[in-house]
């Protein structure tokens, strides 16, 4: 008997030696109710990444990330308030993974070694449209939301790439008869003739969300920036057709506030609580920061001398050994040297920079340059729009996610579990190959910021996401 006790005790000792640590906090919904979650927004909400919308992008959108976390909260008990998100989470999913639609502008970008034609031995890893491009024909068919009639045609993510607050009153927004129609709205909008605001009302009353996130407004400044500051820029633009404003211009403040407010009234019309996400500082995105404005590097004095001779008659500039500011053309048609702080866009043709003397003997055209004035327009309007979003959040008692401030800290570098993410193009890990939209990891970082703001505001304990389990930039 004693022997048995001895070996029993020994076995217990061995069994007891497996340590365990559990410090997870049970997820709860606090004062919020996540039962029915609806995401309202633009390309960032749709899951756009690497220059296109794909099914994997949609499946890794931040609304999907949020839903997965909300879904970990147990459903509310009968008669109680609050509770976790209920399945299913429905997005108007594509079939293909190469980008939608077939136009080059929405084609998926991949990394590839690219040779400049003037320096054939010099290749660099660059983001180029995927080739050959194989579109999935099913993607051109409108999303048939009657597939899920058992859920009354429920869609949880109505993010439409490209949509602006200024587009909310535009009729036939998804209708191909409209020259400015949005093909992403065409894919899943309930009726083609409706305005985005009508679609929002339809979704609200069809699905009756208990919680929503609204991330609108980025495109009201981004179009202007992507176009290199073409257009009015100071917010006094007039509609170009009906009530449709030039997508490459900044939305007038009065139009922005009127329709942001209308969209919010719609989102609140079923009594849902939610979070408003403000407009990021788009000028810190890799699309605008990757090509340095002082990228004219002179290595020999003779080069500097000949450049000085070349520009002596018109500009009277002094080029020196080392880094020099590029020569640009500004919006007034003036040819001048750029000043520090001005931004050269990632869309600038690389061959022209490397081989055709752009920025050196040929000024970089204005559509590839954001000048000091244009940057001022972007920043001032972003600030004003965000102030408005902030007052709306205060007024309607909604969580306010200051993504603008947060992404500025990401731009300089945030470290999670051994990786430092920053806003460097390709190597930074947070932004995808289009230089504007996040990677899957970037979206998870964004989702974590939204979650922590919601937790603070609604006293909930939604679990944060392990960012590193998702894809970053993929290398060949």
């Amino acid at each position: 008997m004693k022997k048995i006790y001895f070996f029993g005790a020994l076995a217990l000792l061995f069994a007891a030696c497996k340590p365990s640590v559990n410090i997870t906090v049970p997820p709860t919904s606090g004062n919020a109710d996540f039962t029915n979650y609806l995401a309202i927004g633009n390309s960032l909400t749709a899951g756009y990444s690497d220059g296109c919308l794909t099914v994997s992008g949609q499946l890794n959108s931040y609304p999907k990330r949020l839903f997965d976390q909300f879904n970990q909260i147990p459903p509310k008990a009968f008669g109680a308030v609050g509770g976790g998100a209920q399945m299913p989470f429905i997005q108007p999913l594509l079939n293909g993974d190469n980008g939608f639609d077939t136009s080059v502008s929405h084609r998926k970008l991949v990394l590839q070694f690219v040779h400049n034609y003037c320096t054939p031995n010099d290749s660099s890893l660059s983001a180029v449209p995927v080739y050959p491009y194989i579109a999935d024909p099913k993607d051109m068919i409108r999303y048939n939301w009657t597939y899920n009639t058992y859920n009354n045609g429920q869609i949880n993510n109505i993010g439409v790439p490209g949509i602006r607050v200024a587009d909310y009153p535009v009729a036939n927004y998804g209708n191909p008869i409209n020259p400015f129609f949005n093909i992403f709205a065409y894919r899943f909008y309930h009726t083609l003739t409706e305005r985005p605001i009508d679609e929002l009302y339809f979704r609200m009353h069809n699905f009756e969300p208990t919680f929503f996130t609204m991330w609108l407004g980025s495109n009201d400044v981004l179009g202007y920036a992507l176009a290199g500051g073409q257009g009015n820029g100071v917010g006094t633009a007039m509609p170009v057709l009906g009530n449709f404003y030039n997508p490459a211009d900044i939305t007038p403040y009065s139009v922005f506030t009127a329709w942001y407010d209308s969209a919010l009234v719609a989102a609140l019309s079923t009594g849902a609580k939610g979070a408003l996400i403000n407009i990021p500082d788009i000028t810190s995105l890799p699309y605008f920061t990757t090509i340095p404005s002082n990228g004219l590097v002179i290595t020999r004095q003779t080069q500097a001398d000949s450049l000085n001779r070349y520009w002596r008659s018109t500009l009277n500039l002094v080029f020196q050994l080392g880094a020099n500011q590029f020569i640009i053309k500004d919006n007034l048609g003036n040819i001048r040297q750029s000043v520090p702080g001005e931004l050269i866009l990632l869309s600038t043709p690389q061959d022209s920079l490397a081989c055709a003397g752009w920025g050196v003997t040929t000024p970089i055209p204005q559509q590839y340059v954001l000048t000091t004035d244009e940057l001022q327009n972007i920043r001032a309007n972003t600030y004003n729009f965000n102030q408005f979003i902030y007052t709306e959040a205060l007024l309607h008692h909604l969580a306010y996610v200051d993504m603008n401030a947060y992404l500025q800290t990401v731009a300089t570098g945030v470290t999670f579990n051994g990786i430092t993410y920053n806003a460097n193009f390709i190597s930074g890990g947070a932004f995808s190959l289009d230089g504007v939209h996040p990677t899957q990891r970037g979206y998870a970082i964004i989702a974590n910021k939204i979650i922590s703001t919601i937790n603070d505001y609604y006293s909930s304990t939604v679990a944060l996401i392990d960012v590193n389990q998702f894809h970053g930039v993929l290398f060949p």
Binding site: L13, F14, P19, S20, V21, T24, G418, N468
Partner: protein
């Protein structure tokens, strides 16, 4: 006027390998069974390690061999979940040979081959801390030729030269993913050598009271020409060339005091204090043979602090044939907050041990010892990689050995 748009700023932000947990205290089984005490009382030839001064106190030349099995496991938890390291078994061994060169001689000679450090931790390759560490392993043994001299009946001294030899292995995921989303990986392997010494004074007040002081020097284990192998997407292969690396890993200096008393026949009580000079491990520096824009030498601060460990042990002689032992120790961690990394996370350790010796024949003694080590749950962070969580380590260590008096 070339413009390389891909001016990467990517760095290996963390190479964290090898925390404090690698020092083990398993150099003699009877001492292990008595909470790791053994500076004062020269029980057997393992005193070559515990106090070289005691070697001359042995009655005759002795051959000693033992082996232990460490089965350490570490659990990690953060607000998202938890992980437990894979089960691994390490088998530190000890051989000692030595004693007075002839009966009652004032001189003794000996040779020890023992395992002062050896540990590792293997996490799941895809665990949450994969970019900090996936797997670490350190193995080493010391060879120590020793001489001991009895100055008087009261005072004996001894010293040994230490040659250390070992190997380290480390792997971590790299945050560069291929087209399928698989991470890159860095695997490092290197052989380490180092030298040092071990000295001791043994004081015999009477048959009932003995005392010891020892000083074991730091042994810098130098790794030169280790191999660093990178698995990365092919487009980045030239940026992460397979190369060599060099680094240095200190086995720290230890000053010990020990007191042994025998209040009644058959009962021996021991008390030891170990003061371990961890603060020499203030940083881990890894130099790669070939640097690129991406691959820079790595310098990870450690800022360990010195520790003072009290140890208690008792030996009860039940009969001429059988003795039993027990002991405990408290081993505070040298790792300060902000440096608790998941390679070998460390926390204050509580050690409980027991053992038995059996003398089946005139010259032979068999020993069995069992030690259990448990760390307190420790919430800690590794600020260098912004990695934090709560850790707990447990290890059970059975060991067996024998010695033979020539």
């Amino acid at each position: 006027m070339k413009k390389h748009l891909l001016a990467f700023s990517f760095l290996l932000c963390t190479i964290s390998s090898f925390g404090a947990g690698y020092l083990i205290n398993l150099e003699g089984l009877r001492q292990v069974a008595m909470g790791g005490t053994g500076t004062a009382w020269p029980w057997d030839a393992s005193t070559i390690f515990y106090n070289p001064g005691g070697l001359v106190r042995l009655k005759s030349i002795q051959a000693y061999a033992s082996m232990s099995m460490i089965i350490p496991r570490t659990a990690f938890g953060d607000p998202n979940g938890s992980a437990v390291s894979h089960k691994q078994t390490f088998t530190p061994f000890n051989f000692y040979f030595g004693g007075p060169i002839k009966e009652y001689s004032r001189w003794a000679l000996g040779l020890g081959v023992y395992t002062p450090a050896g540990n590792g931790l293997q996490w799941d390759n895809n665990w949450v801390g994969k970019y900090v560490v996936q797997n670490t392993q350190l193995k080493c043994f010391f060879i120590q030729p020793t001489v001991s001299f009895r100055v008087t009946d009261f005072l004996a001294v001894g010293a040994g030269f230490v040659y250390g030899n070992g190997s380290i292995d480390m792997s971590q995921a790299l945050p560069v993913q291929d087209l399928y989303g698989n991470d890159g990986q860095l695997k490092m392997h290197g052989n380490a050598v180092g030298i040092g010494f071990n000295t001791g004074i043994q004081l015999k007040f009477s048959d009932r009271v003995q005392m010891g002081f020892t000083y074991r020097s730091q042994v810098n284990m130098n790794i030169d020409g280790g191999s660093a192998k990178f698995s990365v997407p092919s487009s980045l292969a030239s940026s992460f060339p397979n190369t060599s690396f060099s680094t240095q890993l200190p086995v720290p200096q230890v000053a010990s005091f020990g007191l042994g008393v025998r209040p009644i026949d058959g009962l021996t009580l021991q008390f030891d204090l170990n003061y371990t000079g961890w603060n020499s491990y203030d940083s881990l520096r890894i130099d790669f043979g070939q640097n690129t824009a991406f691959l820079k030498n790595n310098h990870a601060p450690r800022h360990y602090q010195n520790t003072l460990s009290p140890r208690f042990g008792a030996n009860v002689k039940l009969s001429k044939v059988v003795s039993i032992m027990g002991g405990f120790a408290y081993d505070p961690t040298p790792v300060t907050n902000g440096y608790v990394s998941p390679d070998l996370p460390d926390a204050n350790r509580v050690v409980l041990s027991c053992g038995v010796t059996v003398k089946p024949a005139h010259r032979i003694t068999l020993i069995a010892a069992f030690e259990s080590t448990t760390t307190m749950k420790r919430a800690g962070s590794y600020d260098f990689g912004n990695f934090s969580g709560t850790y707990q380590t447990m290890a059970v260590t059975p060991g067996i050995g024998l010695y033979y008096n020539l």
